[in-house]
C-alpha cells in the first residue's frame, strides 16, 4: 500500500508544476457553463417547463452537473496509456514488481487532485452567485449517497479510459477514436443535456450502460426526481460495472501484451 501512496504523492507534486495550466483549463470549461446558463435562461423566457424541467431544475442540472463532470474526470488517461504502449515506456513498468493497471490507477489519483480543488473552488463561487436560481439540496443521506456514487463514477470513468487506451496495442493512430468514444460516453452519461429530452427508449437503453450512473442518476437524486432506494440501486449497478470493467481490462491486457512490440527495447 505504501508504494501506491508514494506514487500518488509523487504525481501530485509533479502536477504542482503545471498548476497554472490546470487552472486555465478550468477557466476554459467555465465559459462552456456560462454559455449553457445563457442559453437555458433565454429559452425559459418563452416557456416555463421543458420536458418536466423547470428553470431552477435546469440551472441546477447545469451547475451541479458541471461539478460532477469534472470531479469524476481523469483528463484523458487513454492518451497516457497509448503513449506508454507506443513509445515503449510500458517496458519499464512491466519489469517492476507492480501491476501496470494498478500503477496507472494510483497515478491518476495523484494527478486529479489540483484540478479537483480548482473545480471545487469555482463551483462554490458559482453556487453562491446563483444561489437564488438553483435548487439547494442539503439532505445528508442524499449527499452521502451522491458522494459514494461520484467516487465510484471516478473509477468507472478511469477504468473505461484505461480500457479504450489499451486499444493502442492494436492500433497506432487513435486520437480520433478516443475523441468519438469520449463524446459518445459523455452523451450516454447525460452531460450534454438531460436524458429526458430524448424519447424514453433512449433512457431505457442507456440504463444498461455504465455512463448514465456517473452523471445523470446522481443528478436525478439531487433533484429528488428519484428516491434514495433507486439511488442505492444505481450505486449497486455502478459497483457491478466497476467489477465488469476490471475483468475486461484484465482480459484485454492479457491479449494485448502478446501483441506488444516493446518499441525502444
Amino acid at each position: 500500500m505504501k508504494k501506491y501512496w508514494k506514487i500518488i504523492t509523487n504525481e501530485f507534486q509533479r502536477h504542482l508544476a503545471y498548476r497554472a495550466n490546470i487552472v486555465s483549463y478550468s477557466f476554459g470549461h467555465l465559459f462552456e457553463i456560462i454559455s449553457q446558463i445563457v442559453i437555458w435562461t433565454v429559452i425559459f423566457q418563452g416557456t416555463s417547463m421543458i420536458k418536466g424541467y423547470t428553470y431552477p431544475e435546469m440551472m441546477t442540472y447545469v451547475i451541479i452537473g458541471w461539478f460532477i463532470l469534472f470531479a469524476t474526470s481523469n483528463y484523458g488517461f487513454e492518451e497516457r496509456i497509448a503513449k506508454d504502449i507506443h513509445q515503449g515506456t510500458l517496458s519499464n513498468m512491466i519489469v517492476k514488481p507492480m501491476s501496470y493497471v494498478r500503477y496507472i490507477i494510483a497515478v491518476s489519483m495523484g494527478r486529479v487532485v489540483i484540478a479537483l480543488i480548482t473545480v471545487a473552488v469555482i463551483e462554490t463561487v458559482l453556487i453562491f452567485l446563483l444561489r437564488n436560481k438553483i435548487i439547494i439540496n442539503l439532505d445528508p443521506a442524499t449527499l452521502l449517497l451522491m458522494l459514494f456514487m461520484l467516487l465510484v463514477a471516478f473509477f468507472i470513468k478511469l477504468l473505461f479510459s484505461i480500457l479504450i487506451g489499451l486499444i493502442a496495442f492494436w492500433i497506432i493512430e487513435i486520437s480520433g477514436t478516443y475523441f468519438s468514444l469520449n463524446i459518445f460516453s459523455k452523451f450516454m452519461s447525460g452531460a450534454y443535456f438531460p436524458m429526458n429530452l430524448l424519447p424514453a427508449v433512449f433512457v431505457n437503453i442507456s440504463l444498461f450502460f455504465p455512463f448514465i450512473y456517473t452523471f445523470f442518476i446522481p443528478l436525478q437524486l439531487y433533484l429528488k426526481k428519484i428516491t434514495l432506494i433507486e439511488g442505492l440501486r444505481g450505486l449497486g449497478v455502478e459497483l457491478l460495472w466497476l467489477f465488469l470493467l476490471y475483468l475486461l481490462i484484465k482480459l484485454v491486457w492479457h491479449f494485448g501484451l502478446k501483441k506488444y512490440e516493446a518499441a525502444g527495447v
Partner: protein, 265 residues
C-alpha cells in the same frame, strides 16, 4: 510561389497518413451536430420562438454554423506553433530563406484540406437530410458575400491561433491556455448558440471583436437577418482585423524572438 505550393503539398501528404484519425473525429462531430438538433427539437416542443428564431431558423443556424465552422477550422495550429518554439524546431525555420510566419500559414492550408473536405462533405449530407427543416437562401450576391466572409474567417482564425501559439515564447506550458482560448473563441463566434441570445450590450460589444464574424455573422446573412449592406460592412471589419492581427503578430514575433532560447542547438 513554387516553394509555397510545395509546402502545401507536403503538409497535405502528411495528413493523408492520418486519414483514419480524421474519420474518427468526424464520427464525434456527427454526435455533436445530432445533440444540438436534439436539444433544440425538444426545446421547440414547448415554445415556438426563441429570441426571434423559429424552429427552422434554429436548425438552419446549427447546420450552416457547423458547415462554416468546418470551413474555417485550423485544428490547433497554436499547438504546432508552440511546439515549434518549445522543441526548438523553430531553429530550422529561422535558417531558411523563408519567413516562419508565411511557412506556417502556407503549411496550415495543406494541413487542413483533408479535414476540411471531409467536414464539409459530412455537413452537406446533414443539410441534405434536414433540408425540409431548413431555411433556404437563394440570393447569389448574399451567398457570394458569405463565401468571402468565410474565406476571410479562415485567415482570421488562423492568425488568432498563430498569435496564441506565440505565447510559448514566454510561457512553457500552454496547452491549458490554448484550450481556454478555443472555448472562448467558440463562445464569442456563436459556436454554441446565436450571439443574439446574449444581452443586447454584450451582443453589440461582440461585433467589435473579430470572433463574431467567423460563424455568427455569415450565418445571420444566410438566414436573411442581416442584409447585403451589413454583409459588406462585415467584410470591411474582417479585413481591418486581419491587418491588425498581422501587425500584432509581427510585433509579438519580434519581441518573442529576442526571448527565444533555441532549445536543442
Amino acid at each position: 510561389m513554387r516553394k509555397y505550393l510545395f509546402l502545401i503539398k507536403t503538409a497535405w501528404q502528411r495528413q493523408l497518413v492520418y486519414r483514419a484519425t480524421v474519420y474518427g473525429y468526424r464520427l464525434g462531430n456527427i454526435f455533436d451536430v445530432l445533440f444540438q438538433v436534439t436539444i433544440w427539437t425538444a426545446v421547440y416542443k414547448s415554445t415556438s420562438v426563441v429570441y426571434g428564431y423559429n424552429y427552422n431558423e434554429m436548425i438552419t443556424y446549427v447546420m450552416i454554423g457547423w458547415l462554416i465552422n468546418f470551413m474555417t477550422a485550423n485544428y490547433g495550429i497554436e499547438d504546432v506553433v508552440s511546439r515549434n518554439i518549445q522543441n526548438g524546431e523553430l531553429n530550422v525555420y529561422l535558417t531558411r530563406p523563408l519567413s516562419y510566419l508565411r511557412s506556417i500559414i502556407t503549411m496550415s492550408i495543406g494541413r487542413t484540406s483533408i479535414a476540411l473536405i471531409s467536414g464539409v462533405a459530412l455537413q452537406l449530407l446533414f443539410i441534405f437530410i434536414f433540408q425540409n427543416h431548413m431555411v433556404a437562401q437563394t440570393d447569389l450576391s448574399i451567398i457570394l458575400v458569405i463565401f468571402i466572409i468565410v474565406i476571410l474567417g479562415y485567415f482570421v482564425r488562423l492568425l488568432l491561433s498563430i498569435l496564441f501559439g506565440l505565447i510559448a515564447f514566454w510561457a512553457t506550458d500552454v496547452s491549458g491556455l490554448n484550450s481556454f482560448f478555443a472555448t472562448f473563441i467558440r463562445l464569442l463566434s456563436g459556436g454554441y448558440a446565436p450571439l443574439s441570445l446574449l444581452p443586447a450590450m454584450l451582443y453589440k460589444l461582440s461585433l467589435f471583436f473579430p470572433f463574431a464574424y467567423i460563424v455568427f455573422f455569415p450565418t445571420q446573412l444566410y438566414l436573411g437577418k442581416l442584409d447585403l449592406m451589413d454583409g459588406i460592412k462585415g467584410v470591411g471589419v474582417e479585413l481591418l482585423w486581419l491587418v491588425l492581427l498581422y501587425v500584432i503578430i509581427k510585433i509579438v514575433w519580434n519581441k518573442g524572438l529576442k526571448k527565444y532560447e533555441g532549445v536543442g542547438i
